[in-house]
Symmetry: C2
Subunit: 242 residues, 2 copies
């Protein structure tokens, strides 16, 4: 039975970290909310799991994964679940824990990227918090992005199995997620991200290498990859970059 | 060998979720940064792990746990590691995954609680972003806190093993963390939190019950429990409550 991924159908958002893992592993999956209601898919199928009182483990928000009787929410928890099943994490407990810790730190940067254009509140439009966003985005791109990328650079430098991967000598879901983070930063803050990547050459090289992985490259070139846009987490508002 | 917890010595912060788990389980641990430098503890001992190029798995930020050769950062990953070792999570994979998902959602609320007084940037003082904080805190306490607490209430309602615990019929680290979240909200937003808890009576009852667990109660009454203060995540700025 294919995995069911449930996520908003028009954005990459946090669902993209799961899509990339499924795609890179060549897994059989359905992107439910992008399907048609006639086939019992679409947004109503997604909302069922969030709203029906019959669901014992309701996800707080998309993305979530349905695998038979298992429902898992929170992108990092989904990857914790999928990692071993898709061969995208090492077998040992230390490798799994370290991969998960890297994923959680990537999720922290993603949350801060969202805050950069929504500092006052998720429920308000960007236009209603633009002044605050100018201040927040400045700190994000000048201080936070640099600090995070330097840390990932150090992780790659110190990997005893080589600097091609974050953990061990094989592709993990953390590599895929770091690719997505860098890709999002390059979209939203092209000037600042390129500058920061000059001081994180191993991170930049990992980004480029992951994009060329056979299945990832095919996915990125397909219609399944939703383009970045100004409804998602990484938004290109030129006034927020410098 | 005792567990080593490394965290800022003057605040509860994110370290408190780990402290509570260690305390509730009666685990042998050292709160390293609160120790004296003469005993090779204190902040320098903590900074070593973050700054030394010899550390293969450097934590991005405190809290982190050192257990022999294992170093784990990210409070949720630390609890993923400690849960089975301290008997604070069920044995089955679904129970562990669900407990972790709950923990990640608690971590999301905690991050939003921090944003409520630091919407423009972690590197700036509250006083320099007070105007923005007034807007952000309003959304947090009127929309977000309610929504999150209602969700935890539904989780408790739907637990087939009873509404005393979030998962199964035994205390888990998610219960301890939900206690801490509610405790922090009651400190920072006494008016708004009490109002929201009226619509989440099972959550309120869980909070009170956890506080009375024998070891937790002893811990809360001890000097090991750092009082809430305006340097931590949950800050009482009366102008942000209503």
């Amino acid at each position: 039975m294919p995995y069911q991924l449930h996520y908003w159908p028009t954005i990459q958002g946090r669902g993209e970290f799961v899509r990339l893992a499924l795609e890179a592993a060549g897994a059989d999956y359905v992107d439910v909310a992008r399907g048609s209601e006639e086939e019992a898919q679409g947004i109503p199928a997604m909302m069922h799991f969030m709203e029906s009182p019959d669901v014992r483990h309701p996800p707080f928000a998309p993305p979530f994964l349905v695998d038979g009787k298992t429902i898992v929410g929170q992108s990092s928890a989904i990857l914790l679940y999928l990692g071993p099943r898709l061969g995208l994490v090492g077998k040992s407990e230390p490798a799994r824990l370290w991969t998960h810790q890297l994923q959680l730190t990537i999720a922290d940067v993603v949350a801060e990227a969202h805050e950069s254009h929504h500092p006052v509140g998720v429920g308000l439009y960007y236009e209603d918090q633009k002044k605050e966003a100018l201040r927040r985005a400045k700190e994000f791109r000048t201080a936070r992005v640099k600090k995070f990328l330097r840390w990932f650079e150090a992780v790659l430098e110190r990997n005893p199995r080589g600097s091609e991967h974050l953990v061990g000598s094989k592709l993990s879901y953390a590599d895929l997620s770091l690719f997505q983070l860098v890709d999002g930063l390059l979209y939203a803050f092209p000037k600042a991200a390129r500058r920061a990547l000059k001081n994180a050459p191993l991170v930049a090289a990992l980004h480029d290498r992951v994009a060329q992985q056979r299945r990832v490259a095919a996915y990125l070139a397909s219609e399944r990859r939703i383009p970045f846009n100004e409804e998602g987490i990484f938004r290109r508002y030129p006034e927020l970059d410098a």
